[in-house]
Subunit: 205 residues, 2 copies
């Protein structure tokens, strides 16, 4: 659903990309308008033509990453056949989440690093975007459990927190080249679905 940018929006996107990289590396307070401008090939005063304050700029960075994740996940899940199993849906969700995080790596890392440090009003506003994303994950897990594909006694809230913690951290360590995104996603899915232990190899309580 990415549509071509109007000419007037191109330099705005260049400013946003630069801001994501600088916020990622220096944090919210440490990222200065001068350095962001330099990264975008501009002078500091010129930034204020595109964004009227530093807070508006960080808000835009936070929202872009989250919106990309929501959109990619909706598209990927909608493309699945109706008869897809819970395992298949979870695998697609893993793959889509990791792929989005890596594709928007500057934004993902900027978000996870500065989220706890931005002014509270900005964080509250951004949280409204996050909540529906968490609900999509919750829905995948509960549906699979209701269908009898997942253990009836599995704690799905803990499962969701484990999954999102593990997946979001990939932004910090994944380096393209050695392992592919699909390898990571399916390796993670295998562990979360089937576990590390040899089946039937001991007591599980």
């Amino acid at each position: 659903m990415t549509k071509p940018l109007a000419k007037s929006a191109i330099s705005q996107k260049r400013v946003l990309d630069a801001a994501a990289r600088i916020f990622r590396d220096y944090g919210y307070a440490g990222a200065t308008m001068r350095v962001i401008a330099e990264e975008a090939g501009l002078k500091a005063g010129s930034l204020y033509y595109h964004y009227k304050s530093k807070d508006e700029l960080i808000s835009a960075v936070l929202d872009l990453g989250m919106n990309a994740a929501i959109e990619a996940m909706q598209t990927a899940l909608a493309a699945l056949p109706a008869e897809a199993t819970g395992r298949q849906r979870l695998e697609v969700a893993f793959r889509t989440h990791v792929a989005t995080i890596i594709a928007n790596g500057d934004y993902s890392l900027a978000t996870s690093r500065v989220y706890g440090q931005v002014p509270e009003a900005i964080r509250i506003q951004h949280q409204k975007l996050r909540d529906p994303y968490g609900l999509m994950w919750r829905e995948i897990l509960t549906t699979a459990q209701k269908r009898g594909e997942f253990r009836a006694d599995a704690n799905l809230t803990l499962a969701r927190l484990l999954i999102l913690g593990a997946l979001n951290w990939t932004a910090e360590w994944f380096k393209p080249g050695s392992r592919s995104i699909d390898d990571v996603a399916s390796g993670f899915a295998a562990i979360v679905m089937d576990g590390l232990a040899v089946p039937g190899g001991g007591s599980s309580g």
Copy 2:
């Protein structure tokens, strides 16, 4: 192994605790010496009696959290009987890691949030402490696999990254009161060991 502090070290610890909270909330650059001093009940100039620069202060915050984790893990693993299974060792490691993270919550959150933003020299120095901690986890996993307790085809590097990502994120969402630390640790361990899926319920490739 926590020994009583010398009188002269008490105010130093008070400064360090204050710094952890302020770095956690405002990031590396956003945490000012004036605000840290106020949190510690001092004036800005007085901080420099205890730490000779802001960089020395953030280094101390980073190192304290990591050293606490290493020490707690060594103690917990050493207390296990020699015949402990891989499952038991992994459960103890989960519980110890989460407990340490929550007990030192200010330091844990400060570390995970500012780590990517401190000057490179500080990060490189601190990384030397982190590496042996990762090795302890690697050892637990590979031993269990060699003994035949874990699947022979499990990717243990991915397993370690999944586990540490999930466990470290607990610092962001865990709130004492509703769920206990042990519930979280054993719930996570159950998923990682046995998986979410009903055993024998479908193809796993």
